[in-house]
Symmetry: D2
Subunit: 143 residues, 4 copies
């Protein structure tokens, strides 16, 4: 079985709430942020719309679904380990899983399904098959 | 079948991202915010930890699970209609569904499971049965 | 002296932090959100970049400066009254002040300076004089 | 002149907005996050309210004022260099400055004044003199 992509995130003070723990919605920010780090590690650039870019067309992976199970609270300044695997790989879509742990304790399990799309500022998103070179990279992390 | 609780949220500029649409993680903020409005409409106060409160003990409904399917993009300043129903009602937990629409168009479908807990600042969360008066209120929205 | 534009915001649970009060950065979100509501009340649309819009050019007021003094804590589910005035009106820029109160108690005083710009997805922002009809509207709120 | 504390932050996709640049309110999150990293580097723990902590009393530095001047846009996945200095050091308060740059280009200049306080979950915040050992540490970064 393939090894997951591993990264960490520190629980920021501003991601806690008055219950004294990390707010549940922050997990989705951490998933999105970790997913982008995973993409960068594979050489996939998602944020290429800069001044002067010809045409403004670029690749993006908008999420069609995301869920997370919260198993134990995360607290301010704890370092969360995040392990990302590819659970399913379709023609146009990919499903990632995210295991959050802290010192070996299970904190949360997330899943996110994204669809490969072309984005153009003045047109609707259009789904396209995942390019072959990206498929190859994702396959290395297929659980 | 019971009528859902209905509210609205305006898509704020700061909840959009550079793809020009509402960021996926913002849906969970809107779900949490709409859930709290639903609770207030039922007379359930979640945020009672104020200076001077005796003991500091209060009721809370931390989420153990949340998911959302994103069906079509929401854009800045669109008004989203949100319909909340009770999908499942357990002894200590409750599952809400959230239907997001804009002008009748399906935007997103969310689901959130919360567990009734006592919260005390210096102790771990402890799950407790949902009080009978709150169970009665939730049953009015059971789908 | 002109009457300010008045609106309210409820302090959301997700805007509190583990200190039990509204996080300081959330005030800037509330300022931005209230400013946009003020703009809408004047008939100024900021978020017009939608699929199919010709050229993708639209008006925006990016902030060049924002500050806030925090006078007393805001707590979960408190309703904050926000009064917006125009403190200074330049050729290309405008400075708004924001007075946050709760039940008459001073909570925070903010100030934000924005510059009128044309935005185009694939070009840098370009500052332009504030259109005359918008200048007229802002003058009604000049402190 | 003292050397500032230096750190970096990557501009996250979720901190951009539909104008294609980092949203202005995110700078305050980055300031708060960098300030906490600075505190940790000095051995100052702010987030000590955990289950079982005796009394629940801990030190905190709530902000009484924060401002930021935005000089040029920050874009998705750019790495921002952040330099923190101590601009003013009072008996109970401290003012930090934050210089944001990207590849040497000035992006933003922020300032934040915090007051040393004891926090207790069920009591109002109470300002106290900054402990001597912390004063000594801050002085090393006095501009």
């Amino acid at each position: 079985m393939a090894e997951p992509f591993r990264t960490t995130r520190l629980v920021e003070f501003h991601d806690t709430d008055m219950a004294g723990i990390m707010h549940f919605a922050a997990y989705y920010l951490y998933m999105g942020s970790a997913e982008h780090e995973f993409f960068r590690s594979l050489g996939i650039r998602l944020c290429s719309r800069e001044p002067g870019s010809e045409g403004g067309m670029s690749l993006t992976f908008p999420r069609v679904s995301a869920r997370c199970d919260f198993k134990s609270p995360a607290r301010c300044e704890q370092v969360l380990d995040i392990a990302i695997s590819v659970a399913r790989l379709g023609n146009k879509s990919v499903t990632f899983t995210f295991e959050f742990t802290h010192d070996g304790r299970a904190v949360a399990s997330g899943e996110m399904t994204s669809v490969c799309c072309h984005v153009h500022p003045s047109k609707p998103l259009k789904s396209v098959p995942i390019p072959a070179d990206i498929v190859e990279k994702f396959q290395l992390f297929l659980a």
